[in-house]
Symmetry: C2
Subunit: 339 residues, 2 copies
């Protein structure tokens, strides 16, 4: 109640000055979902350093690039990546057209719901599943299929659409950086075309600022109109060294800030850190089984195949001064709906 | 003198109103280097259609994308593409380290200045030359080498740096579109990393808005720092169907305006034209041997291997309502220095 009364006083004063009390408040703390401490301070100090004109670390606005991994950094990636869930659902949906899948792996395991077998899927299995579910259609058809799925699919534990399982503290970082003149890019091991379906409504990131993995497309004419057919052939893998390569290829500028959460983000952070001046390198550590998930195996957390944060990565982070975000200790809230 | 007096009156009036007479004049005609006529009118009408709020063809600013081919569309490409001249000069410079080139084609032809042989170079020859001159170094080293060359190299006919041989009327179109809320992209068959070296100072196009051909890069550590090594291996050819594929891959939005000058731009214009609403598709026809060059073979112009504008392309342009720009008739001036 006292806080509300204070707000009311601030509100009246702000209205008299013609500004919004709420935006004045937000300007005071751009990261309200972060607990005070060294991690939050690292973000604020970095932004102040690169935006202070005349300062040693000032960066001109056109060079203010920040890159964000998606799965596990901006939204939930457990028990399985959202796009993998999409692919598995598609296998079930397409099965009537493929009677041979009933007896053919990896499809059989998916159709019988054999989680143990699915947990052991290797790259070859996933390549087959992606080929069967992500190719053989035009880019426009794929965007429609993915959009329809995202509109109705829900996460099994949180019972909410995947697009609502973003991390509120990271959305605040994205906003804070954009308000400070940064352009925010998503640099994901996931499918570029898949992520582009929701990058704008979910993250305020326009499709041209999504760098991801892709399959080849082929230019064809259909009914007198050109289309791009998606082919079951890998074109680019935007993961591990591919993230540094993809950043150079698609953006052509070295980021000043980079955010990840797993081994796939290592080279993106190394590449970012190899530039001059102030560079912010951060890794989200999932150490909060209660509110989200806990996995490493760094710091003795449970081992996992999805979004692995190894002890080796933790050691490199410490050695190079990368900031590790503890989900449990640094984040006041996890999801936007928790606020 | 009369024009000057009128300007002085306008100037005084404008100063009194606190605006610049010159900018007021420029606002009156955003395309002063274009002769009046249907071609210029097509550009102005398109821009008015897509920027008129409430109009049937209004396009929200975030979707205003315009793509420009570079060689032959934004700057001179004859007698040979600038990047090819760079590659040939590099062969000469690197020759002392490669004594075997004295007897080995295609290098021998370059080193002996055998223009007849060079004119017959096929894709394989150029791939060898590009591999020898564009790979085997880091991206940073390549940018430095290309920049140094561009600073001193001059066009043999015009005796000016290549970066001054841009087309003033096209620079005005780029400015006009940007002033109208468009983002201008270069979509070139040339090397993405090469064009990025000068896209910002020459065209006001930031490096992240350059889509081009590329060779593979490899992430390596050198002296404890990560680098991207350029490899003699084609990664992506941004030409012909590759331009439509590249636009979808790098931008993810269909352009509303596209500008080209040769067969390599055909699919970019088709892809642009396949979208709904007003779309501007233009091709520069080099029909001005006196001020620049004349080549087709469309319209009976001399045939050429560099920037070929075939009769078939001309027929498609007519059939689909693409606007062909006559360099001779539509452009008052060619180069910025001619103004």
């Amino acid at each position: 109640m006292i806080a509300q009364q204070i707000n009311c006083v601030a509100c009246a004063a702000a209205l008299a000055l013609g500004v919004s009390a709420w935006s004045a408040q937000a300007a005071d703390d751009p990261l309200p979902s972060w607990n005070d401490g060294a991690t939050k301070q690292a973000i604020v100090e970095f932004v102040e350093a690169v935006t202070t004109e005349g300062g040693a670390d000032f960066v001109p606005p056109e060079d203010r690039i920040a890159t964000f991994d998606q799965d596990g950094t901006l939204w939930v990636e457990h028990p399985l990546y959202t796009q993998a869930m999409f692919a598995l659902d598609r296998v079930v949906e397409l099965a009537p057209k493929h009677p041979e899948w009933k007896t053919k792996e990896p499809f059989k395991a998916v159709l019988t719901g054999d989680r143990e077998a699915m947990a052991k899927f290797g790259e070859g299995d996933w390549a087959e599943i992606v080929g069967a579910t992500h190719a053989g259609m035009t880019t426009e058809q794929f965007v429609k299929i993915a959009g329809d799925w995202l509109a109705k699919a829900k996460h099994e534990r949180f019972k909410r659409p995947y697009t609502e399982l973003t991390y509120q503290p990271m959305l605040e970082v994205m906003d804070y950086l954009r308000d400070s003149g940064f352009r925010t890019y998503i640099v994901t091991g996931g499918g570029q075309e898949f992520v582009r379906v929701y990058s704008e409504p979910v993250y305020d990131v326009p499709v041209e600022q999504v760098v991801g993995s892709s399959i080849a497309t082929k230019y064809e004419e259909q009914d007198g109109k050109p289309v791009l057919m998606r082919e079951p052939k890998v074109f680019f893998i935007d993961d591990h060294t591919g993230k540094a390569i993809g950043i150079n290829l698609f953006i052509g500028k070295r980021p000043y800030a980079a955010f990840g959460n797993s081994g796939g983000d290592r080279e993106m952070l190394e590449w970012t850190g190899a530039g001059d001046g102030a560079r912010l390198k951060m890794l989200v550590l999932h150490d909060d089984a209660e509110r989200e998930y806990a996995y490493g195996p760094a710091n003795g957390l449970p081992d996992t195949k999805v979004g692995t944060f190894s002890q080796e990565l933790m050691d490199e982070a410490k050695q190079k001064g990368w900031v590790v975000i503890s989900m449990k200790n640094d984040w006041k809230t996890i999801f936007p709906a928790d606020q």
